[in-house]
Amino acid sequence: MLEEVVLLAVDETSGGLRSTREFGTAYALVGAVFFDLALARKIDTGTEAIHIVDRSPTGSATLDRVLAAMDQRGDLTTVRQWIDEIFHRRDDLEGEALSSLIRLGLLRHEKSKRLWIIDVERFPLVDNRPQRDVRLRLAEAILSDTIPATRDIMLVSIAEPCGLLGYVLSEKQLAARRERIQMLCNLETISRKVAGAINALDATLHQGIPRMM
C-alpha cells in the first residue's frame, strides 16, 4: 500500500510528488505502513488497544523495520500513539517507496537544477497503468454501492484524511459521495482508528506551528 500511496501522489505530467495539504503524503505513508502490517497479520486491534501478533519478517524491509521498532515500544498501546511514533520515524518511508517503484520499473528518477542552484527531483511515470489502476479502484469503491475489497477500503480511509482523493475524483463527485466516503472510512476498525489518529496528529501539529502571518 505504501507504493500505491506514492503512485497517487505522483503528478502524471510533472513527475513531482504533490500534496494538497501540509504533511498530506507523509500522513498517508504512515497510515499505509499501518495497513500493510494489518493486512500481513502482524498487528491487530480491538476497540482500544493495538498489539503485535506476529513478529516474523514480512519480507519488506520497511515494514520489518517499523515492526521491530514498535516491538521495542511496549509502552505504546493505542493506534494514536503508534501513528505519532511512526510519523516521527517517517523520513525513510517516502524514499523507500520511491526506490521500490523505481526498481519495479514504474517510475524513473530525474535530478535537475532550478535557477542553477536548487536541486529538483522528479519521478516521472514510466508506465501510467498502475497509477490509473489505483485511481480506478478508489473511484469504484466510492462511486459504487457494493462492498469494496478490504485493501480499497483502507486506501480510501488513508486518501480521505490526507487529501489524496482530489487526484481521483472531482470536487463535485466527492461532495455527492461524502456520506459513502465517511461510511467507508468507518467501516474497518483499523481504518477508522488510523484516520482518527491522523486527524488528531494533524490538529496537534498545527497547534504547535505558529502562524507566520
Partner: protein, 105 residues
C-alpha cells in the same frame, strides 16, 4: 481459540462461531464463511456465542459479505452479544450487512 460448526435450517446455511475471532482465527473464519457462501444462496453467521471480535475478525466477515454480494447470495449476521454488537455498530457494518437479533430461520 475459535470454534466453527455448520448446519442447514429452513433453507439457511448457519455457520455458528464461538470463542474469539482475532487475527489467529481470522483465516479459519473467513474460509468457513466464504465456503458456505460459495455453495449456498442464504448464509447466516451465528455469533451468539462469540466472545470477542478484533479488527482482523471483522475484516474476515466483511470479505465474506463481499463474496456473498458478488455471488448474489444472502448473507446475514445474527445473535450478536453486547460487546460484539458494540464493535459492529462502531464500525458501521450495519450499513453493509444484514444484522439480525436472532437467526432468520
Amino acid at each position: 481459540m475459535i470454534q466453527l460448526s455448520e448446519e442447514t435450517r429452513s433453507g439457511w446455511r448457519v455457520v455458528s462461531v464461538s470463542g474469539r475471532a482475532d487475527s489467529e482465527a481470522a483465516d479459519a473464519l473467513e474460509a468457513a464463511l466464504r465456503s458456505a457462501v460459495k455453495t449456498n444462496a442464504r448464509v447466516a453467521a451465528d455469533f451468539a456465542t462469540l466472545d470477542y471480535i478484533s479488527s482482523a475478525g471483522l475484516r474476515a466477515v466483511l470479505e465474506a459479505a463481499r463474496a456473498a454480494q458478488t455471488r448474489g447470495s444472502e448473507f446475514a449476521v445474527c445473535g450478536l452479544s453486547a460487546p460484539v454488537r458494540k464493535v459492529f455498530e462502531m464500525s458501521g457494518l450495519h450499513h453493509v450487512l444484514r444484522i439480525h437479533g436472532e437467526l432468520p430461520c
